[in-house]
Amino acid sequence: MSAGLWRASLRHLARRPGQIGLSVLGIALGVAVALAVGLATGSARRAFELATEAVTGRATHQIVGGPTGLSEDVYRMLRLDLGVQRAAPVVALDVAAPDHPGRVFQLLGVDPFAEAPFRPHFGSDDPLGTVAALVTRPGAIVMSGPTARALGLAPGATLTIRVAGARHPLTLVGTVEPADPLSTQALESVLVTDIATAQELAGNKGRLSRIDLIIGFRPADRALLERIRRALPPGVELARAGAQAEATASMTAAFTLNLRALSLLALVVGMFLIYNTMTFSVVQRRALLGTLRALGVTRGEVFTLVTVEALALGAVGTLLGIGLGLALAQGLLHLVTRTINDLYFALSVREVWLTPGAVLEAAGLGLGTTVLAALAPAREATGIRPREALVRSRLEAASRRAAPRAALAGLALGAVGVLALVPRGPVWGFVGLFAILMGAALMTPLAVAVLLRALDRPIARAGGLLGRMAARAITAAPSRTGVAIAALMIAVSATIGVGVMIASFREAVLRWLEGTLRADVYVAPPSLVGSRPDATLDPALVQRLATAPGVAAAGTARGVTVASARGPVHVVAIGMAAGHAPGFAFKRGRPEAVWPQVDKGAVIVSEPFAYRRHVGVGDRVRLRTREGEQAFPIAGIFYDYGSSAGVVMMSRATYERHWADRGVSSLALYAAPGVDLERLIAELRARAAAGPVPADVLIRSNRALREASLAIFDRTFAVTRVLRFLIVVVAFVGVLSALMALALERVRELGLQRALGLTPGQVWGVITAQTGLMGLVAGLLAIPVGVLLAGVLVFVINRRSFGWTMPIDVHPAILLQGLLLAVAAALLAGAVPAARMARASPVEALRDE
């Protein structure tokens, strides 16, 4: 191919810096969003693995007990009777640092003398030198050096932590200095104490969280494993190290998938942008391309020319997008971490973990979508026959004829999408979602034509001749307007779909909270993260508060994590307040039938739990209790939006019988009739503060708790909202680019109109009307597509990812918002070209080209 051809191509691109810049920006934004989400979720996952590695160390097996751990006698037995050498006791608890808001730590109580084979970074061979302070000083801690410095803590400084509603000052006696960045991240949120200090902080004398073991694969090791297993008391089990952590981590898979899919939506919008740009550049160069063909340039050369042009744009956009994505990832990481904290487990991630894989994936996505988007315009360019080249109207006519065929293809694609929704699994859900979306995009040109014909009369009445001109200009050039409207429609429908989904979810949560929270006052220790009750209340405090004057009845709840063969299970034991049935809404089972069974030892499970484990009423849940594994019959399935992992709920009596744990995580108090709530809360707060140790507990009214819960919900969806916003930004850039190109195309035509006597104001009006009309049409088309999208998200994706079902709730406000967004974006996009053209002198406009 001759250099001259490339020069012509370059000149063409250089003449349209604005348009080219915008499409580069569009692809850059799409790539950035995809990369950022990938990096953020990947980093969160990696941080979890690292944190697990930091605290699991080289352990191959773990001995674990029930919710209150296991007796330290088991450890003594291992050491003295079985002579097990590589065993390390661990007391682990999650703690918050109230002086450093947002910081959560895993406090790891270890025996430094047993640590060396497990976590060499915490152990020491030289007990006299390094670990003396840790062992002999109550409340001594060691933490990662970088974290200590980030918190402004020097050795000797005090770090106050909160455990079970009480504050404890700890002394930093030393630091663990990581040797590499990976270790820095692994140790980031770990506090190491002597096991004695950890037991004292946890208030769990005589108990261990677990015992780590290193056991090899030789026959002698297997025999040892068997001897250990036989020697363990009931309720205590030997497990492969990391098994629990794996189960925990896999819960976030669906959440991650959702984010990735939403981020791809941004890239799809970006793809439309490239398609649009390339189509335009082909249309604009029809004459040139036709001439070239007449001069003997082959189809292949034309095809290559267009593809390479697109690839160049895509490459620049991808590079920019990778840079932008790295910056964006840091911000998203924060939001993703918060959601994981609220929904799943405590996690602290400060740094984006960059992998070559993620970057290559983003590059592949960027270039791949570009090439894909350029295929059609490139093919179209090769189809230009030398003789017809100068007849532009033929193309438009062909486009118009193609519209019904595209619509048919779109319909078929949509049908495929619906079919894809049938198999289980969230991945298929997203495949279906994208197919439906693309199908809708293909149907857009026909829909636009139909819609505009229907609007013809109202437009004529409202805008007269000029209005009609604007409308006709759209249908006259479907090759240019169709794609722009489709891109805008896709973007707006995505925002409508995600918006309706969030609103439906919020409405369901609101109704659920109203039904569930029936007591007047709730007491709970400030939990570390989100809504999961994990700490316990001081029993004396429970007594003081439950017997306060004005309290008619008190209910309790105890939330713990219990091991099961299929991973950890969140169990909540409820002590019902006399005369107040808990306000659960049942999906399966009638309350009057369920509660008597629960009293007799049955359990009820939340909807996500039933979905995840494929269990129903009449099935049994197997949980590891004090006496070993026990099966609990399921009496009902209740709606619960608090935990995506699922909850098993049982009566207090059942729980105490099987786990011998008397801890209370939260308290629900019912006021006696006629008692003023404000004064009751004040009285309760005074009682809480009156104890020997002032209790650091939250005493909240029903309303305050409901608001706090909703705030957590909103926080959980913050990352989804941000993604929605980013999609809008990409769409906006797309519309700007498409309409600017369109307006530039029409310079000549408008110059003619000016010459025929249209005032600059009228020209401005025509262009504004045209862009506004396109926005309106896109917005109107986006409404049904958006609602369809929301339906798929709510009924298919959410259910498969999280196990939640909820009624869809279409707020007119969200639809209107989408419509306004489309019109506003279009008007804004049309403003610049309109102003420029209105100013341009007709002579100049005509002289152009």
Partner: protein, 410 residues
């Protein structure tokens, strides 16, 4: 040129362009990929980490770490020993040990040497009053080694545990010192016989020790001075000849053994003077019924310190103290450890108390693979008293070679 030819040429041309385009796109992708990698490398620096285990180092502030000597009792004046009380622990002192070594023979004449030592180290003075049963300031270390002379194998192990929760500890009545399942304990109400048990992997030792000769108070009635300052001393007594019998298990073999053991008991807070680097300790049991102990304290410059001392116990059990000048120790060679690359003396001639004794290690490599490292090994004794030949066996301990000054060990 007919129609078909033209079409064929056009097709060929198209394919040529497609190939050309494919090459261009591949090149572009490659350049772009490299560009991205370079960009990220430049902006991100060395953050491409492989998956590796956590690597970090514990660092404790100087002011907060370590164990100061203040607050502990000191060995200042001779205190008569009271048994069985003094077999038990002395937690007011910072450091203490129960030390058994011995030479054992199987009926076939196969020789074994063993060492089993329990160290107690206090991390802080006083006993903590805390809620958790794990809380303690006492740490126990134990070293166990077996010299299998015929197989030319020497193996050693060490263990550490806090002195809490029954995991490790020591009691006087009934006597017991233990760490995990390694222990030395009285079998009945009396202190002796003692039962010793230790083992790891495919090696274990089960021995019954009698008291043998009465205990010998070392130094000045039990106060063993090791430096010029008051308090640079330890309380030190020994059982120099303990008849031992029992079982050695090694690599699947079970052997009945008999022999002689030696027990050292010592406690102190700050034994060594500042200028001392370490010591060479000799504990020899002669076939004529006499036992000789001598330790030579080495100065940092390598010379023998004036605080070196020893004792000669006659067959009846009467102790005759030896001063630094009473015994001359000459090293006959060196052995360099392949593990630590530390050079130890190997083979000695001891001259004094009318004896000239040649000491030869049963194995060259009896270096304890523990932290800090030291050499502790069985030796064969041959020599003369005047012209009368003298035979025996014993143990030698070499501490402070190639290591920093010691804290936990003597």
């Amino acid at each position: 040129m007919n129609e078909r030819e033209r079409r064929e040429r056009a097709t060929a041309q198209t394919w040529a362009w497609v190939r050309w385009a494919a090459a261009r796109i591949a090149l572009l992708t490659l350049v772009l990929g490299l560009g991205i990698v370079a960009l990220v490398m430049v902006t991100e620096g060395p953050r491409w980490y492989p998956a590796s285990p956590v690597r970090a180092r514990l660092s404790v502030a100087e002011a907060l770490g370590g164990v100061p000597a203040t607050g502990f009792a000191r060995a200042l004046t001779p205190q008569p020993f009271t048994f069985p009380r003094d077999h038990g622990p002395h937690p007011d002192f910072r450091t203490e040990w129960w030390y058994w070594t011995g030479n054992l023979l199987a009926p076939s004449g196969r020789h074994f040497g063993f060492q089993l030592t329990f160290f107690r180290a206090a991390l802080a003075p006083g006993a903590p009053r805390r809620e958790s049963d794990w809380a303690t300031s006492q740490v126990y270390l134990a070293h166990f080694a077996l010299t299998d002379t015929r197989s030319e194998r020497f193996r050693s192990w060490s263990r550490t545990s806090r002195g809490a929760l029954g995991l490790a500890g020591a009691t006087a009545e009934p006597f017991r010192v233990w760490l995990g399942d390694w222990e030395a304990r009285s079998e009945g109400a009396a202190t002796f016989p003692l039962r010793l048990h230790a083992g790891d992997e495919d090696v274990s030792v089960d021995l019954w020790l009698d008291g043998g000769k009465p205990p010998v108070a070392q130094g000045d009635a039990g106060l063993s001075r090791k430096g010029p300052e008051p308090g640079n001393a330890s309380y030190y007594y020994s059982f120099t000849r303990m008849p031992a019998r029992g079982v050695v298990r090694v690599r699947g073999e079970r052997l009945d053994v008999e022999g002689l053991a030696w027990m050292d008991r010592e406690w102190s807070t700050s034994a060594l003077g500042k200028d001392l680097a370490g010591w060479d300790w000799f504990a020899l049991q002669l076939e004529d019924g006499r036992d000789l102990m001598f330790y030579q304290l080495r100065r940092q410059d390598g010379g023998a310190a004036e605080w070196s001392a020893g004792v000669l116990v006659d067959a009846k059990g009467t102790a005759h103290p030896l001063g630094a000048r009473d015994v001359r120790v000459e090293s006959r060679g060196t052995w360099r450890s392949p593990r630590s690359n530390v050079a130890y003396p190997a083979g000695w001639r001891l001259t004094g108390a009318g004896l000239t004794l040649e000491l030869e290690p049963r194995l060259a490599d009896q270096e304890m693979d523990v932290s800090p490292r030291y050499w502790e090994g069985a030796v064969k004794v041959r020599g003369f008293e005047g012209s009368r030949p003298v035979l025996g066996s014993g143990y030698v301990e070499l501490v402070g070679y190639g290591e920093r000054r010691l804290g936990a060990k003597r």
